[in-house]
Symmetry: C2
Subunit: 315 residues, 2 copies
């Protein structure tokens, strides 16, 4: 355990990856309340929205309204997905959006299904988007999904995912987030793939985007930490589900991640108790109980504490 | 990852630790249906019930009726909790009960709260129970709870837990199961405590009883595996909750554990698909959706597959 980093970055994706997989169409004002709750925890990197067509993702159809209202806080990095140059141009209107993100899949079938392009066509588009974003002073995240398995193709060749990541890095992406899109990865795979990627890319250029669909997300994050990865994507409360198995869990819950990191004496700059408060806001925003384990336990503990306090007042 | 064992033992505690924390009073016949479903998965070590007073745990008030009907399968080890010599005598009536289990806490306050005895008094009682059980040809499990933290005292001195475990081993306990009763442990602690315990006890004499209250159970199990532990307690579907925070998750779900173990190429002798079938039986037995992540995902996937099959038939 001596090889663990002393600090890790939590990249909050609930407002984008979470909400785009929630059924409820959330008013912009409620999203902004969640943004402020999350900023109150100490989180400094938040993906806020996506400049895709509202026809594709109606949940994020208010991207412009939301981006306009994002607080211009120094030291806070807001991100937004941009599918193409048109999306990038929209994002660049907002100085608060300091990171734009492109996305593709390591599986041809999943990429075709998701964006109706081949992987080569996606990369060709990014060859325009990424340098333009960097020239405009933005950082660029690149999501590579289905690295640990594809809902259509099953196993994915790690070397193919690696070649894609190396190409994205060459094009100027500042960070490549490797996605276990269907939450199928296991710690052994994570260790092997991290080793493979770290042979050709610096640790700081990589992030892990883990899903907790089968309960393995924290064990996988632990292997990532041991391998040297220090940025992890997570969604407040575990907001968002698995689009391929409605009802199953999706994103790793931010509280679960932060709880483990702090237990390992890894600093995040995040106040876990305030993160629970933000989780309560997220529950209201999603309009449902969220699957995050730590949040669920904290809510239950607060309920017990309230009942005790009331009993004491009554006595 | 090269140091991982090639085989691990899953000790199924759903029928006892799970059901005693479920609200529903389950008829014996339904428990037996779950026993048979679990045996069908390849599981060979199951804790079936507890010979405590029905006044304490009404959910397990049918211990005799259940024990009488347990299938006398060769190679299957059924376990039962025995609080004292009286409980042991009841358990010894049933040849199928090949393991009896004693239990105490590493925290004085928790032990007092749970069994109304000091730790020394508990150990004194076990000095009678354990040798008598061994003399009757039974294996003895000893549960040490709150090793990673106590709901009343907070932190627990690991050296105290270790002294208790060493004494239990000296008294003849065949396996000591170290419990993270409130699911508060983190992988760093697990690694340190396993190292400490393994200095004085052989790995085969230890098991980890992990709770997933804060989502860390599998990450903790992974650290246990790396330290050399090869037996892990788990509950089908994650049945049972956290008695200190009603609504929160309790036991690590057996399917989540088996999914991770198989992904790490660690043999368990368990058929994961049949374990999902058993999880569906457990849902009916508990009368509620269970929190296990893998089970939830498998149920969702089966629903999607059924809908597709129906759509194809309709087309």
């Amino acid at each position: 355990m001596s090889s663990l980093p002393s600090r890790a970055t939590v990249y909050e994706v609930g407002l984008r990856d979470g909400l785009q997989n929630e059924a409820r169409l959330v008013p912009t004002s409620e999203k902004l309340a969640l943004v402020h709750a999350l900023l109150g925890t100490g989180l400094r990197r938040l993906e806020a929205t996506s400049f895709v067509s509202p026809k594709w993702i109606p949940q994020l159809g208010d991207a412009d309204e939301l981006a306009r209202e994002l607080p211009p806080s120094s030291g806070v990095d807001f991100g937004a997905l941009v599918p193409n140059v048109r999306g990038l141009k929209r994002a660049l209107r907002y100085p608060q959006i300091t990171t734009v993100a492109v996305f593709l899949s390591a599986s041809e079938t999943h990429n075709r299904h998701n964006v109706n392009r081949s992987i080569a066509e996606s990369l060709k588009g990014f060859a325009e988007v990424i340098p333009a974003a960097r020239a405009a002073g933005r950082d660029v995240r690149a999501y590579v999904s289905t690295v640990w398995g594809c809902p259509f193709e099953g196993q994915v060749d790690p070397k193919k995912a690696l070649d894609i990541a190396v190409e994205l890095h060459r094009l100027g992406a500042t960070q490549i987030s490797l996605g276990d899109t269907i939450g199928i990865g296991n710690p052994g795979q994570i260790a092997r793939l991290c080793e493979l990627f770290l042979e050709r890319l610096p640790a700081g250029a990589l992030a892990l985007h883990l899903h907790d669909t089968r309960g393995t997300a924290l064990a996988n994050a632990l292997m990532g930490l041991m391998a040297g990865i220090t940025t992890f994507d997570a969604s407040v409360g575990g907001m968002g589900g698995c689009p391929y198995a409605p009802g199953a869990s999706g994103n790793l819950a931010t509280e679960d991640l932060v709880y483990m990191l702090h237990g390992l004496d890894i600093e995040t700059g995040i106040d876990l108790s305030k993160l629970v408060d933000a989780g309560l806001v997220a529950r209201r925003v999603a309009g449902r109980d969220l699957p995050g384990r730590y949040l669920t336990a904290a809510v239950a503990e607060r309920r017990v504490a309230r009942a005790k306090a009331e009993a004491n007042r009554g006595a």
